[in-house]
């Protein structure tokens, strides 16, 4: 898994290219992810990268930008 793959996944989930242009964008503040989007994100992470993130480990403050998500996933690989 590399940064690019994470960004591609987020572009598909959020349906917005802005993620590639600005990987420090706050996905929750900008309305690109909501509670249901979060769920889809965790499912996709498991499907694509075989990394299981327990929903109870997911908090919005630490998983709010594409770069942070990529960083969190790199830690868990």
């Amino acid at each position: 898994m590399d940064q690019q793959q994470v960004l591609e996944m987020l572009v598909e989930l959020c349906e917005d290219e802005i993620i590639v242009e600005n990987p420090d964008i706050d996905l929750f503040e900008e309305g690109l992810l909501d509670s249901f989007g979060t769920i889809n994100l965790l499912v996709e992470i498991e499907n694509r990268f075989n990394i299981s993130v327990p929903i109870t480990d997911f908090n919005r403050e630490e998983w709010n930008t594409p770069n942070r998500i990529a960083g969190k996933l790199a830690e868990r690989q």
């Binding site: 349906e15 509670s35 249901f36 769920i39 929903i55 908090n59 919005r60």
Partner: protein, 491 residues
């Protein structure tokens, strides 16, 4: 006939110290509920409102919110629940359209209103402690008990008026058909702006049970949510299927985490079979019910019990057995609802009411706009006659969203289409023509438009993606090509 208020009073006398309502950090006994709502009602009656004039109640899950509902109807006024996540312009619109004489708040409301605004807390502080209220002022029979605003295709939300008699019939129906008698905790997940909340609220209070309410803040923070669910001791679960689907993402959400859970009541949108299969595995003690009904006929009017046999037999769950007396299908496929829970119509909208609620053989019926078909003794839901959609359990009129976007100063015209994934709507996409060509870049413009829109529409009604076009695509008949756009939006 049972009176909702008389039934709650009986509970308050018989088990005054029992918890009526609880959140993760606050609770209320039946005795407190009864006496505080008496004090509130006593104060409200001195306020010189018109008879049956609505009272807007603004707030979120909290004990005083329930006190406010019961206090309003004790004083003879229907209440209009408005969740504190509602944008200011929409609150203003609902307040004006309802003709409310007062806004009661249980959370801080910062905007200026044209009618008096009072905090429930302040009223209780100022009110006399020794009030004995007679039942003479209570809403009853054909008086309106609550008014819930739903999305309206004209661009104006519609106020559905539910009478005391509608509500009583609904609660009696719930008690007759579902295992609600045995003592236990009822989960309250839906905010009070949505009538799904009525499904747990009144059956629990009338039965003398404890309601456990979870807040939107907990839902946004999964750890807090599951901690709360684990300590709630919930026996009866009411939610949209979307919410359960979200919870299923946590692999630890199961019978071990919620040992008392034995009843699932689902309503508000299609219940997917995959969700039922997973729930049956994780909650072997629980029975799942799929309920059906629009706000206009008081929450729900029919149901099926979800069994292994049923999920194996059909690709989609039915919404009613054909023996259900109050639900039928017209020749054109539209689902028609009759019976004692059909609402008194839309407040202040006689034309809309006459159209949706025709009188047949002296009785008011409701034309749901839902399309259904009958197969093997069951009724199935297959879609809508109009542009209403359900997204994560929220009922939305696409036309209302389009009107609000088109009203924004930079926008010339707009079409909104649902985005489908595996036959399920996952989001909305707006196709927009601007007056001036894009100068700031699409992202900045979208951000600006979404910010403008958030004063008028709740977050769940704001499309996720905005696409800019020079002109909206037309089909060969010269109409906007919604079908073409919808095909583009299937992922």
């Amino acid at each position: 006939m049972l009176s909702i208020l008389a039934a709650i009073e009986r509970v308050a006398i018989q088990q005054p110290q029992k918890t009526a309502y609880q959140t993760h950090n606050a609770s209320l006994t039946y005795s407190e509920l009864w006496h505080l709502s008496d004090r509130l009602a006593d104060y409200l009656m001195k306020f010189n409102l018109r008879r049956q004039q609505p009272i807007v109640i603004y707030g979120h899950m909290s004990p005083l919110q329930i006190v406010a509902f019961i206090g309003a109807v004790k004083a003879g006024h229907p209440y209009v629940p408005v969740d504190s996540s509602t944008p200011s312009e929409r609150l203003q619109l609902i307040t004006e359209a309802s003709g409310a004489g007062l806004v009661l708040t249980t959370e801080l409301l910062q905007m200026q209103m044209n009618i008096p605004v009072m905090a429930v807390h302040d009223i209780l502080d100022a009110s006399s402690k020794n009030v004995i209220l007679s039942s003479a002022t209570w809403v009853q029979d054909e008086d309106i008990h609550y008014i819930i605003y739903t999305s309206g295709s004209t661009g104006q939300p519609k106020g559905v008026q539910i009478t005391a008699s509608n509500l009583t019939h609904f609660v009696m129906w719930m008690q007759e058909h579902f295992p609600l008698q045995e003592d236990g905790v009822f989960l309250n997940q839906a905010p009070y702006s949505f009538d799904l909340s009525v499904m747990d609220l009144y059956p629990a209070l009338v039965g003398g049970h404890t309601l456990y309410a979870i807040t939107q803040q907990e839902i946004a923070n999964p750890k807090a949510l599951f901690d709360s669910l684990a300590t709630s001791n919930t026996r009866v679960w009411t939610s949209t299927p979307s919410f359960a689907k979200m919870c299923l993402m946590n692999k630890e959400w199961d019978q071990k985490l919620m040992p008392a859970l034995d009843t699932f009541l689902f309503c508000g949108e299609v219940l997917p079979i995959a969700v039922c299969n997973e729930l049956m595995l994780r909650f072997p003690q629980a029975i799942i019910y799929n309920l059906y009904g629009p706000t206009e006929t008081t929450v729900a009017v029919s149901y099926v019990k979800v069994t292994k046999e049923l999920v194996a037999r059909f690709e989609q769950l039915p919404i009613a057995p054909i023996t259900e007396p109050n639900v039928s299908v017209a020749e054109d496929g539209e689902i028609i609802i009759s019976g004692p829970t059909v609402s008194a119509g839309y407040l202040g909208a006689p034309k809309l009411t006459a159209k949706a609620f025709p009188i047949v053989d002296g009785d008011r019926i409701y034309q749901t706009g839902d399309i259904g078909y009958v197969q093997d003794g069951y009724l199935f839901f297959s879609g809508r006659k109009d542009f209403q959609v359900k997204l994560h359990g929220y009922r939305l009129e696409i036309e209302e969203i389009e009107k609000q976007i088109s009203n924004l100063p930079p926008v010339s015209s707009c079409v909104v289409v649902p985005v489908y994934k595996e036959k399920e709507i996952i989001s909305l996409s707006a196709h927009i023509v601007l007056h001036e060509p894009l100068t700031d870049g699409a992202f900045k413009t979208t951000k600006q438009l979404k910010a403008l829109l958030s004063a008028y529409l709740p977050a769940y009604m704001i499309p996720k993606t905005f696409k800019y076009m020079d002109a909206l695509p037309l089909n060969p008949n010269g109409k906007i090509d919604r079908k073409g756009l919808a095909v583009m939006e299937t992922v």
